[in-house]
């Protein structure tokens, strides 16, 4: 049962092959069995069973929404009413959210059954899930390796088939990179496609929630539930939500695929390059046309990102001051002591580093040199992509320069960790939608193929991904020990 996709489970539930309660109990048992992966921060067993029973009643009554009874789980960055929402931090270890994020509301409305909250890098700052207050998550493909981050818990849980689908968020690659490192399908929608209300902000102008699942077909079903304008989020865009499943089977004959030459330079390891090339060959076989494009400003993406994202986070995390909620130090002697110790005790090293970088970049005398400059670079990078997308339908490339690496291997060198986001970060700066789909293995470690599309054209990405999954079976492989 646990290897089934969301599409299959939804169908089985409707056919009466199993009840939602049976499904939910089976997945809860798997979560328990594989808790050493550390993919969950909170398992909401009782709420899940109650929701499953309700789903079964709705299914029996007929006319239930399309995800009714399907188990899933949320990244612990989404606020969930009455449930701990930690964002992977000691700061919010005791924070029980008094409201639901819009994404959570939407999945509830679609009938999905949430099994709990998934581990993540602290406040989504990290590419390996090692910055979590709740400890590193293990990659089910190589349990001494990282699952990627920041949505590492989501990726590991889906890869290990502990849940059929999960929500994630992507600020600089946090859906796509763990999806690639864990061999699952992840989609970062266009900025503004999915509401950010109730999704704890890291870098507001870059954050975007999206689906993580086994297949593109499932990602389409999940995105259908998540997408749409939200009057509570001024940056969500009021444009029609198409039927994301409708175009999945469209032919790719004549599809124009752009390959940025900067994606395939010496920084990419040769085995990765070969794997990506093999994937692109599959598209050629389906009738796609390959066009070389150029992203001359790509190399500026990481420096620009590491000004903009920390700048925004330095303000976003200011509300975590120990005054109204969150961690508060013992016996503060005065206000400054309360601030300094509460924040000092509760934030991890990476979070502190980024707050400091951001505070510095926004300081008087540095603002123009860093923040304004970074915004100009952002514009240049967007222009590069927009120019390329005038010539091609989608852009393809690697997600990450190398497959997964050992837990603890890169923690001493934050810069090296930052550089690993070179292929994903630029897409966030441009606000474009992009996917990662399983595209093979190097030494049993998964490799992802990145597909980047035009604004609000997630349907095209899903179509392109789905067609690949019709001719390959990388996405169907399960890690050893989790079959």
């Amino acid at each position: 049962m646990h290897t089934k996709t969301i599409a299959q489970l939804a169908q089985g539930l409707r056919a009466g092959d199993y009840s939602s309660q049976e499904l939910t109990e089976a997945y809860l048992a798997r979560i328990k069995q594989h808790q050493d992966l550390n993919s969950f921060i909170t398992v909401t067993e009782h709420q899940a069973i109650a929701a499953a029973k309700q789903a079964d009643a709705m299914l029996a009554a007929g006319d239930a929404p399309f995800l009714t009874g399907v188990p899933m789980a949320h990244k612990d960055i989404f606020c969930t009413l009455g449930v701990k929402t930690s964002c992977g931090s000691k700061m919010l270890d005791k924070f029980i959210s008094p409201y639901n994020a819009t994404v959570v509301e939407k999945f509830n409305a679609a009938g999905a059954v949430s099994l709990g909250k998934l581990n993540m890098d602290e406040f989504a700052m990290g590419s390996s899930n090692e910055t979590s207050f709740y400890g590193a998550v293990k990659n089910p493909w190589a349990t001494d390796c990282v699952p990627g981050g920041s949505s590492g818990g989501s990726a590991a849980a889906v890869a290990a088939r502990l849940i059929p689908g999960a929500t994630g968020t992507d600020t600089g690659g946090s859906i796509r990179q763990p999806a690639a490192l864990c061999s699952i399908t992840g989609l970062k929608p266009t900025y503004g496609r999915v509401s950010r209300y109730g999704m704890i902000a890291y870098a507001s102008s870059l954050d975007q929630g999206g689906p993580m699942a086994q297949t593109a077909e499932d990602a389409a079903l999940m995105l259908q539930a998540m997408a749409g304008f939200d009057p509570k989020d001024s940056t969500s865009v009021d444009c029609a939500v198409p039927d994301y499943s409708a175009d999945l089977n469209n032919s790719l004959a004549g599809l124009k695929i752009g390959l940025p030459k900067e994606f395939f330079d010496e920084a990419l390891n040769s085995e990765m390059a070969a794997t990506i090339e093999a994937a692109i060959n599959e598209y050629k076989k389906m009738g796609a046309e390959i066009i070389e494009v150029s992203m001359p400003n790509l190399k500026l993406a990481i420096p620009a990102y590491y000004v903009i994202a920390p700048a925004e986070c330095s303000a976003n995390l200011s509300r975590l001051d120990g005054v109204r909620y969150g961690h508060r130090c013992e016996n503060p002697v005065d206000l400054n002591d309360l601030y300094i110790r509460s924040r000092g005790e509760a934030f991890g090293t990476e979070v502190k580093r980024r707050i400091l970088i951001g505070t510095y970049a926004l300081s008087e005398g540095y603002y123009d040199a860093y923040y304004i400059k970074a915004q100009k670079i952002r514009r240049l990078i967007s222009d590069d992509f927009n120019k390329a997308l005038e010539q091609v339908d989608v852009i393809m490339g690697p997600v990450s320069p190398s497959p997964t690496f050992g837990i603890g291997e890169k923690t001493d060198d934050p810069i090296e960790m930052y550089l690993a986001d070179i292929y994903t970060i630029a897409i966030n700066l441009a606000g474009l939608p992009a996917m990662s789909i399983p595209a093979g293995f190097i030494d049993n470690k998964p490799v992802g193929l990145q597909i980047i599309g035009n604004y609000f054209n997630e349907a095209k990405l899903l179509n392109v991904a789905h067609q690949y999954q019709q001719v390959t079976d990388w996405h169907q492989q399960t890690p050893k020990g989790f079959e």
């Binding site: 001024s234 940056t235 109204r324």
Partner: protein, 477 residues
């Protein structure tokens, strides 16, 4: 040395919206602590601001009223600082791109008109309140006010005395109420002011070092604070000292200003555009709609009152100082059919005097313009004398009856029947032969004695014109 004072004001006025600037919570004043603060106002993780469109409309209204440039695009920015009553650790404000640009306000000072430049006006959210009483050494936080919309109006350093500063502040206060964008209630903090004050030798072009006086919340205190600060600065400089650029707090009890923080200690607010909010675009349509909706402004009303009703500048100024008062006056002229001069005398004299005594606002006047109009008509048609009218007016303050009903019930109708007046006069002439003698011997002043006696005998009801006429006739004989 002759010193010149240089003053610029930053006025914070709360906009009279029903809900907050970035959330749906109510803005009403005086609720139980923290009952009007929703998830957004509390700064919970994950919440986002959504701009209240009424706020934009109100700012545009103000901008058009001061003939300012209203920006096509304005941008909200985060002003970062930690304080317990600032729940997000930053205030959403506007920095580089305020909604209202350069405008002006004319003030009248010593009979002359002076133009005060307005640098900008921008939108921002108010903070909550820290409460220090009744918490046993701890601090309580009330976030009801958090997110209340503010329009910060920044003037040029164009004022050179506390008197000018007050005149400007009053004009802005009057304007925001006229535009109905603020209730202007200073006790409740809806209208607050910071003053930037410096001095320089008369004739010198460059400015001296300024200090900022914080949160002075009445016209009286603004005046006192500026004056005491100017004295302090002069004393320092004349004793060879230097002014430190700093923020100072005015202590009304001690009538002194004292240092809060110096420039070195000042926050670096690290402003940057708020990524949660889109830029605000002001369309031509909105501008036109707001313009069409603008009421007649105080200045225009004042000028019209002078031209249309031949009022003197001072009276016109008083009557146009509030929209309600101006309306009362105009409605009274219409309802009574009396001349504007009479109406304005009654309103600025008797009515405002009576209201003042009772601590009432014109809107709470116990005498409506209709009832007052009724009284004025009875004076005009000689039913009562001006003197009796004051008596009727007093009675009207304490009853709901019309002037007519009071005149009737108290028997105050003027006696115009010449036969009745003649009878009274005949008796007085007969009773006072000595005075008659004096009058006839040329002492004209004695005439007044006869008038007084006649009025007294008639209990003030005899028509004075009629009394004069009959007396003159009879005394000549």
């Amino acid at each position: 040395m002759q010193w010149e004072t240089v003053i610029g004001l930053e006025i914070h006025t709360q906009l009279a919206t029903k809900s907050k600037i970035f959330s749906g919570a109510a803005t009403a004043y005086g609720a139980e602590p923290n009952t009007q603060a929703c998830a957004v106002d509390l700064g919970l993780p994950g919440v986002l601001p959504v701009l209240n469109e009424d706020v934009v409309r109100m700012a545009v209204k103000f901008g058009l009223a001061i003939e300012a440039e209203v920006a096509d695009v304005s941008v909200f920015a985060r002003k970062n600082y930690f304080y317990p009553d600032s729940p997000k650790g930053y205030q959403i404000s506007q920095m580089d791109h305020p909604i209202v640009g350069i405008g002006h306000m004319d003030i009248e000072i010593d009979g002359a008109t002076k133009r005060i430049g307005i640098t900008r006006a921008h939108l921002e959210e108010d903070a909550g309140k820290s409460l220090h009483e009744n918490f046993h050494g701890l601090t309580g936080i009330d976030l009801n006010r958090s997110g209340t919309p503010l329009l910060e109006i920044v003037s040029e350093p164009d004022m050179h005395s506390a008197k000018e500063a007050i005149a400007y502040m009053r004009k802005i206060h009057e304007l925001v109420q006229y535009l109905e964008i603020s209730d202007g209630n200073m006790q409740e903090g809806s209208f607050r002011c910071d003053a930037n004050v410096s001095i320089r030798p008369k004739g010198q072009a460059e400015y001296g070092t300024r200090t900022e006086l914080k949160n002075i919340n009445s016209f009286k205190f603004v005046e006192k604070a500026i004056n005491i600060e100017v004295e302090r600065q002069i004393e320092i400089i004349e004793n060879g000292g230097k002014i430190t650029q700093e923020t100072r707090l005015y202590d009304a009890d001690k009538n002194e200003t004292r240092s809060m923080r110096s420039k070195e200690e000042a926050n670096d607010y690290r402003y940057f555009p708020d990524p949660d909010l889109l830029p605000v675009f002001i369309s031509e349509e909105l501008r036109a709609a707001v313009k069409a909706d603008l009421p007649e402004l105080p200045q225009a009303k004042r000028e019209r009152f002078i031209a249309e009703y031949q009022l003197d500048a001072e009276t016109a100024g008083v009557l146009s100082s509030s929209k309600t008062l101006a309306h009362y006056f105009e409605a009274l002229v219409k309802a009574s059919g009396c001349d504007a001069k009479t109406c304005s005398n009654w309103v600025t004299g008797d009515l405002l005097g009576a209201l003042n005594k009772q601590g009432l606002d014109i809107a709470q006047s116990p005498i409506s313009y209709d009832r007052l109009g009724g009284l004025l008509q009875r004076i005009a048609d000689n039913t009562i004398s001006g003197k009796i009218a004051k008596q009727v007016f007093e009675a009207m303050l304490n009853s709901k009856d019309s002037a007519d009903a009071i005149i009737e019930s108290q028997g105050l109708k003027q006696i115009t029947d010449s036969g009745a007046i003649e009878a009274i006069i005949d008796k007085i002439i007969a009773d006072n032969p000595g005075q008659v003698e004096q009058y006839l011997s040329g002492k004209d002043k004695v005439f007044g004695f006869f008038v007084g006696q006649t009025m007294k005998a008639s209990q003030g009801k005899a028509n004075p014109g009629e009394v004069n006429k009959i007396l003159q006739d009879k005394l000549k004989r």
